[in-house]
């Protein structure tokens, strides 16, 4: 199944009954999938909105009214949605936003890229907030993480972003859809009319500074809780590794290919793949640095996740970087060449490019 459609199907199975979106490449198949299939579902609502801004506000309304709601777009469209994402974070409304990243800045191009890392993990819109960001790297993960995104959004009452790229969206892979968890979302947060009781309101505007400060601290406590509880990562071939590639999403797939080649050259390289980009798996990465001292960050950007890796490892390990921005997807061969050249030289007598040990070194292996 194609990546974009996997997200759509997983969302519908997870109980998403409201989708609003605006066409933008490379994620149109998702919008089309929802148009075709969500309308068939019982109570399913699909709206092709007049703009990205309208779409995010429609899902905010649907979410407030108690529906599991989703919108999707690609980089320039996600910039437009930021007003609404900030507002949903302020109003503590759950919702899922899919960003199939493309080359930027500006209109950029429609090739796969990872240039929106900062925007996604630093909140993106104005104000003091964060969004949970999940970065799938396989078709199966597109399905699983989409379902998880809805659960996390409900659990913490906050917008959650699926951050992938044009490659993930266009690629086809076999997928098994797991059974979704039943939704747990307290009724007290849902607007459905006051009935005979007290009315409620949902707002983000708090004019009193002290009250607003308290709201900010409340959100901050929630974000701290998320940081402690919701980090996810994959650690691959780390046991004997002397060097780790740190990469997510499509870049991590390329890295796995490169690692197979590097291992063939007797270079002990592993992969650290953050799955949650915010919260970033800082603790897990630092634990690795207890026995691995060389890390190379590989991104399809000029170096954004690099900052988070530095925050985790600065002073604990050597940090190197390789990136290709602008919609270029490097091949595993290219990455393995780069990594092999930067592989830590431990032993002056070993010529690793010949895959041939000349002499046992005087200082031991």
């Amino acid at each position: 199944m194609q990546g974009n459609c996997v997200i759509g199907e997983a969302a519908i199975r997870a109980g998403c009954c409201f989708y609003a979106g605006y066409p933008i490449t490379p994620q149109n198949e998702l919008t089309e999938y929802m148009a075709e299939n969500l309308r068939k579902a019982d109570g399913g609502v699909f709206i092709q909105s007049e703009s990205e801004i309208a779409a995010i506000n429609m899902i905010a309304g649907a979410s407030a009214a108690g529906a599991r709601a989703m919108t999707s777009s690609s980089s320039p469209g996600i910039s437009l949605k930021q007003e609404g994402i900030s507002s949903m974070a302020a109003c503590e409304l759950p919702g899922v936003i899919v960003n199939m990243m493309r080359g930027g800045p500006g209109l950029g191009n429609i090739r796969p890229s990872q240039g929106d890392y900062f925007q996604a993990t630093r909140g993106g819109g104005h104000g003091d907030y964060r969004t949970i960001v999940l970065a799938p790297a396989t078709g199966q993960e597109l399905a699983d993480l989409t379902m998880d995104a809805f659960d996390l959004a409900d659990k913490y009452r906050t917008p959650v972003m699926i951050l992938a790229d044009g490659m993930m969206g266009q690629m086809m892979e076999p997928v098994v859809f797991r059974k979704p968890k039943p939704r747990q979302y307290p009724d007290c947060y849902v607007l459905k009319g006051a009935g005979d009781g007290k009315s409620k309101f949902i707002r983000g505007l708090i004019l009193d500074a002290i009250e607003m400060e308290e709201h900010n601290w409340k959100l901050a406590r929630k974000y701290n809780l998320i940081s402690r509880q919701e980090t996810r990562c994959e650690i691959h071939e780390a046991k004997d590794a002397e060097m780790m590639i740190v990469a997510y999403g499509t870049a991590a797939r390329v890295a796995k290919g490169a690692i197979r080649r590097l291992r063939g050259m007797d270079l002990k390289v592993g992969l650290f793949r953050p799955i949650s980009l915010w919260p970033f798996p800082t603790r897990e990465l630092r634990e690795l640095s207890e026995h691995i001292k060389h890390f190379i960050v590989f991104e399809m950007s000029t170096g954004q996740m690099l900052d988070d890796v530095r925050l985790a490892l600065q002073g604990f390990a050597n940090i190197d970087f390789f990136g290709r921005p602008g919609g270029v997807v490097p091949t595993p061969a290219e990455l393995s060449n780069v990594v092999s050249r930067r592989y830590p030289q431990k032993d002056a007598y070993v010529d690793r490019f010949l895959r041939f040990k000349v002499v046992e070194g005087p200082f031991g292996p």
Binding site: S51, G61, A62, A65, A67, C91, K192, A194, S199, K200
Partner: protein, 255 residues
């Protein structure tokens, strides 16, 4: 003893923060009275805007969700599609509806979205201190059109109701005012009709209300009411701009 006048159930017992002579408080009351009369308090959801009426949720005793500036119709669309049997209305000012949120209001009307917009037109941005609005009258002095609005530099006042009435999705659009007791009663009937159209699933409805803003017009409350009659209604004539119900009734008569 029979109670003949009281605070509507759909209004909280809270004093308004609005300036003396402002039209918002009158319109709030009218909307609340209509909701009560229709017995819809328990299943109404209001969407207040960014602007003077942003704190409407402190006054209305119904469920409400605040919209970012201009996005009320999109947000109300989301709510209404999930709760199609509820009364859903967006309460917006002229800047919110006819400038930053033009796309949202235009397309909500065009989709025939089954919501109602209560549109307060006071020809200025009230909350931010009286800047020029899309509905500012030609020659009207504001803080961002100090010599008066000129078409050459500032363009023309937007008659957004006439524009939305052109769209096939809109069912009922009327322009009213709240500058005299008679006008207030007429406005209330119009709001009632708009809400009734919504509950009958007839499509998009909007009531534009010419509303005094004495503070930013720099007039007394009485002069502000006069100014609506003497100046504003020349640019924005009162009356029904669209009513598919009347049209249908007319057709029936003919045939």
């Amino acid at each position: 003893m029979k109670k003949i006048f009281g605070r509507p159930r759909s209004l909280k017992a809270a004093p308004y923060h609005y300036c003396p002579g402002c039209g918002h408080s009158i319109v709030h009351r009218l909307v609340a009275e209509v909701i009560d009369e229709m017995d819809m308090r328990g299943s109404s959801i209001g969407v207040p805007p960014a602007g003077c009426a942003v704190l409407a949720y402190f006054y209305f005793d119904i469920d409400m969700i605040e919209a970012p500036h201009g996005r009320g119709p999109a947000l109300a669309t989301g709510v209404k599609r999930v709760l199609p049997k509820h009364l859903v209305f967006s309460y917006q000012g002229d800047g919110d509806l006819a400038a930053i949120g033009t796309a949202e209001s235009f397309h909500a009307a065009n989709r025939g979205e089954n919501i109602t917009i209560i549109f307060i037109n006071n020809a200025v941005y009230g909350m931010t201190g009286g800047q020029m609005a899309p509905t500012t009258i030609l020659g009207q002095k504001t803080t961002t059109s100090p010599p008066g609005r000129t078409p050459l530099l500032d363009g023309y006042p937007v008659r957004i109701s006439e524009i939305l009435a052109q769209l096939r999705g809109s069912a009922y659009i009327e322009r009213c005012a709240v500058n005299s007791p008679a006008a207030v009663m007429k406005t209330k009937r119009s709001i009632r009709k708009a809400f009734q159209y919504q509950m009958d699933n007839r499509g998009f409805s909007m009531v534009e209300i010419l509303s005094p803003c004495p503070t930013n017009w720099k007039m007394s409350a009485v002069d502000a009411c006069k100014w609506i009659d003497e100046v504003m209604t020349k640019e924005f004539p009162l009356g029904v701009l669209k009513d598919i119900g009347a049209k249908e009734a007319g057709k029936e008569k003919q045939s």
